[in-house]
Symmetry: C2
Subunit: 719 residues, 2 copies
């Protein structure tokens, strides 16, 4: 490996453009490479540092005046960089805490703290205007009772609690953060009769068991609280008062009690310093082995030993949010949109989540602006979006996506997302498989600033090592070679409306490291400067990555969506379902009409085979088209490529959650963040529903076959 | 499942003998079943409780007067039960601590405790004559220096330490117990230049993270110390002054400094209460994720922050040990031996380890004595052995095995081992595959005392569930059905000399539960009464299990060794090596002359296939022989069956450890406890040695083919 490169000289890093040739007509490659060099050279660590410092001066929760100030700051910067800037305002249902309190009532009366400790080395930890512990979309109410501990609060955890003979009914459920989206923990508890929920951060998950804690290290200290939304994210994101339709002026609105995607029992987040005061006293049986966390005693499930009283009073109602956009209009296909986005609202100062992304987005804007100033213009229109109220449930992006659905489905080429852009040096990237080749080409052309080589090298090396250790080995066949795929999209960030509701290709990326202060008051500028990205080089790298992705999407004569690896990415996911059913069959978990060993994956496997051939053939054809610079053929294929992902949508959506219309990708009903590829098949296996499995198979096969036909038509059109 | 059965009525549990028919000539089955009923009905919880209370009155370390008292107690009981009893004495090299001290010298001077806390609820915890923290065969010496933390102290851990840029040279290495035998941790540290070793019990491994700690629960409390031997067990067990030859009077002896199987640097065991005082201060880099234990802070590897000084002075030299034997002579084949054994020496009181086994052994003796009194006699001689000095390095059994090698190889049918017979309710059983069918038949005939059904049902259910979750799934073939195999023997108990040195079939079993007080002063009668086996029913069950196994081995007209599953058990182990090499190949870990992807397992796989056919054919032939009650044929096959395991021995033993002669099973060179099946192939893969792999393959294939020929000859002789 090459030695480290001084951060100050990021601007002078080698600019590689080896992968550019695949995307542009040969005669235009040089001009494009020149424009890319401007965009590569512009992002600067010092600038990113400055933007981040200003963006994170104060906590700026969606719906607060402080967040409006930050929206205006972003708007000004976009204008300053030469983009057409615009603020789009919606009124949406939000909540802020008016009064929260938590008291231990057994074994003794003790007030538990719902605020973080002030640390003298960190001025931001003293912020007066930060909200105390509360949950976005958490319900108002009081609750009092015995505590039971239910691990991560997944359906499986509640089943084990039931096996232990312990009922959550009438009790306050204490669960730890992790594994699934927090709102689904509350949902599971609520469905089982709990009267309140406390969600704490266990030190085994992001505290001292993962590294030194803040302010000495990047991980979660004892008093840090993970705020966050408890919306039922996998059922319905966006404004819960307008489920499935946009929160435009005069829109029909549901009252709080009519909303089905938010809890009705109160919940609060809790630090492990305070949770310990409850957990240590819990009686009842010792927990199953994998429920033990990192506090220094053996965990018990309760009930008995510890009771609490909670009070939660919310200020809730319609509040304004502000999506900020910057635009560079396209030359040849101005109606076509390449959208880059990142949210801006934060639970606290939000240095990593999300403003490392906002800082990168601003540097991207500055870089693209510089290219425009140097005479470049994209073929298609580039839109940079700074979303609001993502933290509450992807509200800003969802409402806008619902608002502009028709335009987007007709014209959007792709959506590229950043969220917590930087918490460390390691690239993580997810997306629809059609963007794999593009993302890989950009990663190959962005130098790794501290280790040498490219971001793509480091990324591939890491994924390859994980594959070597973890991918199942099948002895009876030759080992399949490693293939890099983008991570599978679930939910939890703003790509959701684009992929799952509109069928628009999307990717999301970020640079990852040890990060334990998520959604706490310690996610602030000092944390980033000490631990996340002390030299701010990965902020600049993220901007470069974002910018090159946008340029290739917007300027390639043939839209850079490729389908050769799509079926193999799906096949890898299907194999996970197949393995799971083999294990279920081993356990003999058959029921009337349900035998996991007899599920027929054959039709889907067959459809994937034909999809693979069609995708590979199209990719080859497109490469030839680019080589011969056939502009007419490019126009014909672009019309088809742009809407190809929509062949995977169904009109009526997924079972119980019609807003989710993609038949191949969705967040898990019970996971929220994590994806359930082939969501109907996943749900069928989860619920032991053979009829749903057959129904889902028919729908998936039909969707795959639609895509195969479209790929073949596109290939014909390319000739 | 049937409801629980009151423990008092174990004697009245149903006596099942459904599996007996497979083993005996039909005309003798009824008489045998009657004798088995006596042995089944005799073991009593109250008696086992009484024996255990008396055996554990005082700590009785090998070589101490207290241990001689316990030997004589066992001898008296065996005589009382009507067995021919005998004490066989050896003089062997042992050590006892004269002076031990450990002092923190940085960041401040603090004496660290090498004694356990007295607990007022537990009188035994006040034992005056218990040794403080020390290691069996630990070296005398002093050491002082900076501490570095090296996780479990495996070669891989030291490699990671090296990757972190940290050298153990001249330092004191702090490692945690677990993963590998403690002596090999010291060996690895010593080889790398460490001047001393501290081995502590991390709460993540057997402390509060695994359950409530003593005296409130069965797991390890903060002051508990794991004593134990630091012999290099995988290289050479037994008396280190007579490696490979028996410690008989006048035997040639190595001096301490000539011994190669014991450490030369001092080492001490440590409680986590005291280890925390070192670990908490360690500087240096944060450890790799999987090195983090259960103490409530982020672990660092050092050096810096903490230094210690250790003083270890041993009283070492030749001391007497006492193997106690009880014998029931056989009628028809008196020279043939069926040996049951369990060690008796303990680091402290040793209620679980080993005297739950001694109590069971005494109940077995009483039960067999009762059958003899009722008129039964075995065909072959049954020997019950109570070994001494197992804790130091399997010394009593090894010296006896070396002493009687010729007789044993000619006449021993099998060795059946108990060690910590009872720490809970779950059967665990390991052994050479030829004993699988016998052990399974006994398990089927021993009722589970608290849950209903048989021990075999519970055992099979547990193993099947592990298989369902963990056995690799291969999608491209029909899932192989579950097959119960005995666990693979490594080392760490007295079966070692029989299997690995003499090629005698062996099995070992015990009833397992949560057990965190191993080798501490809290492994005493109160622990057993409160947590391990409060009703002492599993002690009685172990005695029944032991007794029936002995009876079938000793009385079946055809020796109950079966070979139909042997090749499949080996195949399962070989597949693990194959999977490992596929993963290594994925990582591209090739070197000059070494390519894990090109290792040829074909010859061994082929030899296993023919072994499987021959084994299955023989089993069928033996079943027919029994059916037609052909006594002459039985005699012919027994001569061959008894020595069949010896076809797997090599004269020159394994690389670097010639005492280990079995080519299929051995403890891992670097693991000690855990088995390395196909040890030469395992070593070749570990050391990237293609030549050893080829050499090992030739030897394994030859051994497998010898066995196949012998199986075929035996089948011919059976006709």
């Amino acid at each position: 490996m090459a030695g480290p490169v001084a951060s100050q000289s990021l601007e002078r890093l080698p600019i590689v453009d080896q992968a550019i040739g695949a995307w542009f007509f040969p005669s235009r490659s040089d001009a494009m490479a020149e424009a890319e060099r401007v965009v590569s050279a512009t992002p600067a660590p010092a600038k990113a540092r400055k933007w981040l410092a200003q963006l994170t001066e104060e906590p700026h929760v969606a719906g607060t005046p402080q967040e409006k100030v930050v929206a205006e700051y972003v708007h000004e910067r976009l204008e300053e960089f030469g983009l057409e800037a615009e603020i789009v305002r919606y009124e949406v249902f939000l909540n802020h805490p008016k009064h929260v309190a938590l008291r231990l009532t057994e074994p003794e009366q003790t007030e538990l703290s719902l605020r973080e400790d002030f640390l003298s080395v960190d001025k931001d930890s003293a912020a007066r205007d930060v909200f105390p512990a509360f949950h976005g979309y958490g319900a108002s109410g009081t609750a009092e009772g015995q505590v039971v501990y239910a691990n991560y609060g997944t359906p499986d955890d509640f089943k084990k609690l039931d096996d232990l003979g312990i009922s959550p009914t009438g009790r306050i459920v204490l669960v730890r953060y992790g594994e699934v989206f927090r709102g689904l923990k509350v949902r599971e508890a609520e469905q089982r009769g709990a009267v309140g929920v406390l969600i704490y951060s266990d030190p085994a998950d992001d505290g001292y068991m993962k590294g030194d804690v803040y302010p000495d290290g990047p991980m979660r200290p004892p008093s840090a609280i993970q705020r966050g939304s408890v919306q039922f994210l996998s059922l319905q994101p966006g404004d819960p008062s307008t489920p499935g339709w946009p929160s435009t002026d005069g829109a029909r609105r549901l009252a709080r009690e009519e909303m089905t995607s938010v809890p009705s029992i109160p919940s609060l987040p809790l630090s492990y310093g305070e949770a310990e005061k409850i957990l240590r006293h819990l009686g009842g049986p010792r927990v199953p082995d994998d429920w033990q966390g990192g506090l220094p005693f053996a965990y018990h499930a309760g009930p008995g030993g510890a009771s609490v009283a909670m009070e939660v009073e919310m200020d809730e109602g319609l509040k304004p949010i502000y999506n900020v956009f910057g635009r560079i209009s396209g030359t040849d296909e101005p109606e076509r949109l390449v959208i880059l986005g990142n949210h801006r609202d934060a639970w606290t100062h939000g240095a990593a989540d999300p403003n490392s992304g906002t800082a990168a987005l601003l540097e991207t804007a500055r870089a693209l602006g510089a290219a425009v100033a140097a005479g470049w213009r994209p073929r298609r229109t580039i839109v940079l979006a700074s979303w609001d109220a993502e933290e509450y449930g992807l509200v800003g992006s969802t409402e806008w996506g619902e608002d502009r659905a028709a335009t987007l489905q007709a014209n959007a080429v792709a959506y590229v997302n950043l969220d917590s852009a930087v918490t460390g040096p390691r690239l993580g990237a997810g997306g629809t498989p059609s963007l794999r080749d593009l993302v890989r080409s950009v990663a190959a052309d962005v130098p790794e600033p501290l280790q040498g080589g490219s971001i793509g090298d480091a990324w591939q090396k890491h994924l390859r090592s994980e594959w070597a250790d973890k991918a199942p080995v099948e002895l009876d066949r030759t080992d399949r070679p490693f293939e890099l795929h983008l991570g599978t999209l679930g939910s939890g960030s703003d790509y959701t409306v684009f992929v799952d509701h509109l069928g628009i290709p999307a990717a999301t990326f970020g640079f990852r490291g040890s990060y334990g202060v998520y959604h706490s008051v310690y996610d602030n500028f000092r944390w980033m400067e000490k631990f996340g990205d002390p030299q701010f080089v990965y902020h600049a790298v993220a901007a470069r990555f974002f910018g090159l992705t946008a340029m290739r999407l917007a300027s390639a004569e043939v839209v850079p969506l490729r389908f050769g690896s799509y079926a193999r990415a799906l096949r890898a996911e299907l194999d996970k379902h197949r393995r799971k059913t083999v294990r279920l069959a081993r356990k003999g978990e058959t029921e009337d009409g349900w035998d996991p060993g007899s599920l027929d994956f054959g039709p889907v496997l067959g459809a994937l085979d034909t999809l693979e051939s069609a995708g590979e053939a199209l990719d080859q054809t497109l490469a030839e088209l680019i080589e011969r610079e056939d502009a007419d053929a490019a126009r014909r294929v672009n019309d088809r490529l742009i809407t190809l992902e929509q062949t995977f949508l169904s009109d009526d959506g997924l079972p119980g959650r019609p807003w989710f219309r993609h038949l191949l990708y969705a967040p898990g009903t019970t996971t929220g963040y994590a994806a359930w590829p082939f969501p109907e098949l996943a749900e069928a296996i989860e619920n032991k529903d053979a009829e749903l499995f057959r129904h889902g198979t028919v729908r998936v096969v039909a969707a795959l076959n639609r895509a195969t036909r479209r790929l073949r038509e596109t290939a014909s059109a390319a000739r």
